[in-house]
């Protein structure tokens, strides 16, 4: 329990806060007058899509604005002091001591050049809350509470020497070290695998409860926020949509927008059973240099259906895609496509073989040349594979844009002038331009907001229906699998754990790993995490 505030007191109150950001030579509103009240010991969940202003608001709760942003109106009263009126020098007395921050990507938020324990205790020691030896001792205890392996020595390591999930817990220890009154979690588990996420969520929640710290938990994942927060506030375009206690918000959302957020997860494709394989991987072994990534992988992809490959990062799902495309020739085994063996190396494949297999990537941003217009991007495969020129090409580009529900006015735009969802649609059109039979979708919706995700998934389903496409859909998100897959392949550590029809794989009994993976997917039930921890052997 904090020395300075009692549970139930108002710790932080934000009134009429307006924040502007500078871009394209103009000031834009990011936050348009938001009120927020946080009591000591309470956890507030901030939820919204990207661009909703949730991170900006979370940082503003600490009195911090990112470079290029400014607070134009409103007050941020923390324990009786208006942070909006303080200089940076004055605010530094609060930062790292009375209020701390847990960032989204721990891998990027730790200084690569300094040992973990030094970073964990830096602000505690600087502020004179503890001396070095007791701060170190306390940090080791925190590591222990957070279930980190080897808590006495892990602090001596550098950030690159521990895993992402462990780093996120070290960062939580760092945030807890000075025993703050307020902790801001900014999407702390977004970059983690589901199985890791569960452990990190559980340790974060228990430590927040143990020290009775007030927290703001920012996320776009409803199921996650349901586990962490007492109160949920929904944001959109810098405005508050609604705020309510967690259970009430989940069971009876009032606003249309909130309801639409809730409904995305219910998208589900009726599966179909197809026998003929269009592509099959037979006994594939592959890797990078001496490191073997795929171990005797066999995957069958039936014609006209969607096979979802699920697994954690490092399970080999993207490597399998690289083998299929020929970017990474396998060491042994064969790739059969339409009944014929594909040459392992891309250079040995015929133009037609290349044309039939296309790929869509996770980051639409980096998968397009930022200097090419949409018509150049889509026109390139038309020219290269199909030899189209002039008005025929233009007509085809228009048709393709229509197929992805965009109009011809997009032709002269550059990728920078498109939204995230539109960019991914252009990538889909580029893949379609080659008139492929088979498309590999590598985490194509992971970087998108839920509502945009839904649009992309629906588009992919419709195109499959109309063009008879076959998809290999790589994802780590089980609700995406539900939405799009006929068949599921579960991969772990370079091996296929289980494969079959969606209903078969999702029905118990499961192999041990599938069980772990499926049970780790957060559910909207606020008691889910509690129940899960109770069920799992420690």
């Amino acid at each position: 329990m904090s020395k300075r505030t009692k549970k139930g007191d108002v710790l932080l109150s934000i009134k009429g806060l307006k924040i502007q950001g500078f871009s394209d030579e103009k000031w834009h509103n990011i936050i348009n007058g938001i009120d927020l009240t946080l009591h000591a010991g309470e956890v507030l969940g901030l939820i919204g899509e990207s661009g909703a202003g949730k991170s900006t608001l979370g940082l503003a709760a600490m009195g911090y604005t990112q470079p290029g942003c400014r607070i134009t109106e409103g007050e941020i009263i923390f324990d009786g002091v208006d942070l909006a009126k303080l200089t940076d020098g004055e605010k530094r007395k609060f930062w790292g001591t009375r209020m701390t921050y847990v960032a989204q990507s721990a891998a990027a938020a730790f200084n690569p050049a300094r040992r973990l324990i030094v970073q964990t205790t830096a602000s505690t020691i600087r502020a004179g809350i503890k001396d070095q030896s007791s701060a170190y001792e306390d940090a080791q205890q925190l590591y222990d509470v957070l279930n980190l392996p080897d808590p006495e020595n892990i602090g001596e390591r550098y950030p690159h020497q521990v895993s992402g999930g462990q780093l996120q817990r070290v960062m939580t220890a760092m945030a807890m070290s000075p025993r703050p009154d307020l902790l801001v979690f900014d999407e702390p588990t977004t970059a983690l695998d589901v199985t890791t996420q569960v452990e990190v969520l559980a340790s974060m929640r228990s430590i927040v409860e143990e020290f009775n710290t007030a927290a703001i938990y920012i996320t776009h994942d409803l199921a996650v926020v349901a586990q962490m927060a007492d109160v949920i506030k929904v944001l959109r375009y810098g405005n508050e949509v609604e705020e309510a206690p967690t259970r009430q918000m989940l069971s009876a959302p009032q606003q249309e927008y909130t309801k639409s957020l809730w409904s995305v997860r219910s998208l589900e494709k009726p599966q179909k059973l197809v026998k003929d394989s269009v592509l099959s991987l037979k006994g594939i072994n592959a890797g990078y240099g001496a490191a073997k990534v795929l171990n005797n992988v066999n995957i069958e992809v039936p014609k006209g259906s969607t096979v979802a490959v699920v697994g954690e990062s490092g399970s080999g799902k993207s490597t399998a895609a690289r083998v299929i495309t020929g970017l990474l020739p396998q060491m042994s085994g064969s790739v059969q496509f339409n009944g014929e063996g594909l040459p392992p190396a891309l250079a040995d494949r015929s133009k037609d073989q290349k044309r039939r297999i296309q790929m869509i990537y996770q980051m639409a941003d980096t998968a397009m040349n930022p200097r090419q217009t949409v018509s150049e991007i889509i026109g390139r495969p038309l020219e290269f594979y199909l030899g189209m020129r002039g008005s025929k090409k233009t007509q085809r580009i228009t048709d393709l844009l229509e197929m992805i529900e965009l109009d011809a006015s997009f032709m002269q735009r550059l990728p920078g002038e498109l939204s995230g969802g539109q960019k991914q649609r252009i990538c889909i059109a580029r893949a379609l331009a080659a008139e492929p039979d088979f498309i590999i979708c590598d985490e194509v919706t992971s970087a998108l907001d839920q509502i945009v995700q839904e649009g992309i998934l629906k588009l992919l389903l419709r195109l499959q229906e109309e063009l008879g496409l076959t998809y290999l859909f790589i994802t780590h998100d089980i609700s995406t699998v539900n939405a799009i897959a006929d068949q599921v392949v579960v991969m772990n550590q370079g091996e296929v754990v289980e494969q079959g029809l969606k209903t078969e794989v999702f029905q118990p009994p499961h192999p041990e790993y599938t069980e772990l993976l499926l049970s780790s997917v957060p559910e909207m039930d606020p008691d889910w995490l509690t129940n899960l921890i109770a069920k799992r052997p420690q």
Binding site: G96, T100, P112, A113
Partner: protein, 313 residues
């Protein structure tokens, strides 16, 4: 790796000199010399042998530390007053290294200091004026900077001598005094590059999430720069410093000429003018070695300041 590079460089040096127009023998003996005398003189110098053979002989001697004998001082009469290339180069190299060290001792800390402080107070009046000043000095040719310094510090206000002619007998204190103006010129020329790189390397890192994290844990701007940004910025800074230090050794001939400073640059220019092949080759090889060694040091600094390489998983 460095050895291989050095070998390739030696090949390039040799072939470049092979294609140098003009001929030492003709140069020394003058237009009036007969074909026979020229040929005899060439034979004596070994210039009649095929290039491959001469390269082999030269490189074999070089690896044993023998750079050969200078052509100058010989003539057709048979009296040999020539000197070892090593003996010619050594005192010049010492002078050059002295001047280079003097400039480096001032320039490196100065540019680091300016780089860090301008990063700290970026876009301030201070930052702008430092940037403008250093850019101005780097934009003028070296000799211009040198003459301006002579004008102000030697002619108008005679603080330092305009001539920096030192020899082996010059006492150390006197050397510092005489080398002051050339060192100052060199400092002005190289500070801009190093300072701007330091500033850029640090500012580049300021957008990193861990810098925001450091700010949010209450670190002051100075602490952010010194403890969080600088330790991650050493590799690019070291590379630029190495490049500039190498320039101090190999690129200072203009400054040497202006101040009549007997450095290795002048020696090489004279040797090229007189087609004194062994000296030219020796100088070029030393220049190449300077670059390679300094870059090696920069790479090592890059490695030891990178915890990923220093502390593998």
């Amino acid at each position: 790796m460095g050895i291989v590079t050095l070998f390739v460089v030696s090949l390039i040096i040799f072939s470049a000199i092979e294609y140098l127009p003009g001929d030492f023998a003709k140069n020394i003996l003058g237009q009036a010399a007969t074909e026979e005398t020229t040929a005899a003189f060439r034979r004596e110098l070994g210039l009649d042998q095929p290039a491959v053979l001469r390269y082999g002989q030269w490189i074999a001697a070089v690896v044993q530390g023998d750079l050969g004998t200078s052509f100058s001082g010989r003539n057709a009469s048979g009296v040999d007053r020539s000197r070892q290339v090593m003996d010619l180069i050594a005192p010049r190299l010492r002078n050059t290294l002295f001047l280079a060290s003097l400039a480096a001792v001032v320039a490196v800390p100065l540019s680091l200091l300016l780089g860090i402080s301008t990063a700290l107070y970026r876009n301030s009046f201070y930052d702008r004026s430092v940037n403008m000043t250093t850019l101005t000095t780097i934009s003028f040719p070296e000799f211009f900077v040198a003459y301006i310094l002579i004008l102000f510090l030697a002619s108008l206000y005679p603080v330092f001598p305009s001539l920096a002619n030192v020899d082996a007998e010059t006492p150390l204190g006197e050397r510092f005094y005489r080398a002051a103006l050339p060192a100052l010129t060199l400092t002005l020329v190289i500070v801009a590059h190093m300072m701007r790189m330091t500033r850029a390397a640090i500012i580049n890192l300021l957008a990193s999430p861990y810098i925001q994290m450091a700010r949010l844990s209450g670190a002051s701007p100075t602490e952010v720069i010194l403890k969080h940004a600088l330790p991650n910025a050493w590799a690019p800074i070291a590379t630029v410093i190495a490049f500039n230090l190498a320039y101090l050794v190999v690129g200072v001939v203009v400054v040497e000429v202006v101040f009549v400073y007997p450095g290795i640059g002048q020696l090489m220019v004279d040797a090229v003018a007189s087609r004194d092949i062994p000296v030219v080759q020796g100088c070029a090889l030393i220049f190449a070695m300077t670059y390679i060694i300094l870059n090696l040091i920069a790479d090592i600094i890059g490695i030891i300041t990178n915890p990923r390489l220093l502390h593998p998983k």
